[in-house]
Symmetry: C2
Subunit: 425 residues, 2 copies
């Protein structure tokens, strides 16, 4: 640990404030993640990754930078990591899962801004996110109003480039977005000094597709009953997907899947086959935001799928690998990202359809809809999703919350009542 202090200090981390964070995270991780029963043995890698989340992984990135590589931070599944990787940059998701420096944040953002955005600014103002501090460039996107306007403020303290996402998915939008991805290529080429070619991009597409294929394999084995892995463990893996070196991560997920498939064959689960199966749907859950899955799983249910940005929205779609020329491959990358069914699009009927389909495929007993407080796109879209889910005969619970613990008891009570209703039904 002592080695890292110099590194953190060198990259600009506020050591004192960061020490405070390091006092809180490990015990939280122990209580919420490590203490679970019947965990797969191969979760050990992800536990150790978490233990070194601000240490070893940052050290690796700093080594890459010393060799001339660049680190690019982002906040959203819409930033095409294939492009970053092909141009020699390492892509990392930035911190945003815990309340940090709220009084400082109040100087910049209204109190009723979503917790993820307030958290992100808090990490930056407090200088306690080493991923942020190592980033040579931060890529934002015009997804929701909150992030779009937050990036203007962030631009005062970091090197920020904002991609413009369209708001519909018609042909004009597709063409606009393909051009926007090309503008990103220009910007990243400028950053890394490399020039994109088809071989680099094909390789990167393969690596990222492999990562998503591993997560799809993990998703597939979770259809088994009894569930072979907890929702909290699966979420942790999906969270780490935004941080870890992709090839190593893919190997580790596949090794875990070997174990889980054996478990499934042997009928060995983390919970009984009678535990209610839950689909968690909605907003991203950034590390260490395990609040709602923890409530659900300590109430006797198991989350068997995450319809979240830190979940299926990240890995559901692959890039078509068959393209042999650069232009076609760039278009395929762009098109893959435009398929993501985030609530910021209008209309976004496919999201409700995907949720209903997943609820059936995963034989879930209920959908719990997670809306970050003040997240307007997911909040308003819950009306359509609720209607579609209930029409398919699946119970639905809407939960709106933030990163505070003040409502934990109240949410627990609602979740328990929901599970009682499921069991009674």
């Amino acid at each position: 640990m002592e080695d890292y202090r110099q590194m953190w200090s060198d990259i600009g981390v506020n050591l004192e404030a960061h020490d405070g964070l390091l006092e809180v995270l490990p015990p939280l991780f122990g209580d919420v993640i490590v203490s679970q029963e019947n965990r797969p043995a191969r979760m050990a890698y992800f536990d150790s990754f978490f233990a070194e989340i601000h240490g070893r992984r940052i050290w690796e990135l700093v080594q890459e930078q010393k060799q001339g590589k660049k680190v690019v931070g982002s906040f959203c599944t819409y930033v095409p990591e294939e492009i970053l990787m092909a141009l020699g940059a390492s892509s990392v998701g930035l911190c945003g899962g815990a309340e940090v420096a709220p009084e400082a944040v109040d100087q910049y953002l209204p109190h009723n801004t979503c917790a993820l955005i307030r958290s992100s600014l808090g990490f930056k103002l407090g200088r306690v996110c080493p991923y942020f501090e190592t980033s040579d460039l931060v890529i934002g996107e015009t997804t929701c109003d909150g992030k779009k306007k937050y990036y203007e403020i962030l631009g005062e303290m970091a090197n920020v480039y904002v991609m413009e996402l369209p708001q519909k998915k018609g042909e004009p939008d597709r063409l606009f977005w393909r051009d926007e991805v090309r503008r990103l290529i220009d910007r990243v080429e400028e950053l890394t000094g490399e020039k994109l070619d088809v071989e680099k991009l094909r390789q990167a597409v393969k690596v990222v597709n492999d990562k998503r294929r591993a997560l799809l394999r993990l998703a597939e084995v979770r259809k088994s009953s009894p569930p072979v892995i907890s929702g909290k463990d699966a979420l942790l893996i999906n969270q780490i997907a935004f941080l870890d070196e992709p090839r190593r991560f893919t190997n580790k997920v596949n090794e875990l899947c070997d174990e889980l498939e054996q478990r499934a064959g042997a009928g060995k689960g983390v919970a009984g086959a009678d535990a209610p199966r839950i689909l968690m749907s909605g907003c991203p859950m950034a590390i260490p935001n395990w609040k709602l899955p923890h409530i659900v799983e300590t109430s006797g249910a198991t989350v068997v799928m995450e319809e979240l940005c830190t979940g299926s929205r990240y890995y559901r779609n692959l890039v078509d690998e068959s393209d042999v020329d650069l232009d076609a491959l760039v278009d395929s990358v762009a098109d893959r990202y435009l398929e993501i069914d985030c609530a910021v699009f209008t209309p976004n009927e496919e999201r409700a359809e995907n949720i209903v389909r997943m609820a059936s495929e995963y034989a879930v007993d209920g959908v719990i809809y997670y809306s970050l407080m003040f997240c307007t796109p997911y909040g308003v879209e819950s009306y359509k999703v609720k209607k579609a889910v209930e029409a398919s005969g699946v119970p639905f619970l809407y939960v709106e919350t933030d990163y505070s613990q003040g409502d934990t008891q109240q949410i627990s009570t609602r979740v328990q009542a929901f599970l009682e209703m499921i069991k009674a039904g």
Copy 2:
């Protein structure tokens, strides 16, 4: 009045609920607007328009419909009314300034959705907005997250078409928006059965430019000291701009300006020259939302300019009338709308610059920033505006509120303290 009841019933208004609204509006108008001292005589027209806001004006629109014309409702300054007018449709702004049927709205929208959107849905669910009920088509726009997602719900109960606004203002955005305006033309041609040509559009551009020129003339005379018209009266006129027949409205504004210019020449004001002059900046104020200007003006200050959608954002920019071919003129119309400096754009530095410039031109003593509660774009943008305004030496007050009256006393206290500070400074 009896005549109108049949008409309201015919167009689908819920008479009983509407009666409730009619019991509340006139006394509110009397207290807030009519009771003001030293009002210009020519406000009589706008008072009478308001008295017949759901009567005579709706009757006119219904007569037009009987002759085959169409009525198009919209919510936002980004919907190009020149296009609607040129294609033979009457354009009206839809209701959204009062809390209506909140329990019914709760079935569709999260409680922390902005009051304007909740109000709009309440008016529709309660069937108490005759402008909504007469609309043959409703045009939404992808400005903010709240409206964008609300239109999906509204689409279940009305004929809704959503224009896609870009989120930046670069060249790709301009081209995209020009095409989007052409897609609107297709849709409105389909609605009215008319075909756009350059003469029709030139005429409409002239009519709408004339309307905006009249409002610019009104804005200009408000630079005088003492102020020749109250902010509440000016706001009322700006609100009526979205509803009235445009040629008549223009004449009436110009007649009023004749009177106001005489007043200015004679040094006759609605308040003393020592009353603090306030620039009101931020979100739209739909009828009958006069809450904040009423607090400000009953606290001894005068609002001398509205940097609002129901204010300068509506009339600041004109369409270039010099174009002689249809394509160029359509582009000019599109470009004029893209100049609007709404907080939904990123970056939007020109808005802060415009506010600082206006604060100087109108010799204001303070800027009061009005953010509708849960309006993320205006809420977050207040940080940049505050910084720019205070750097220019002008005091700044941020007020976040909704349509309830519960916070009136608290806001009054803050406004009075702000005005005391101004007087002391």
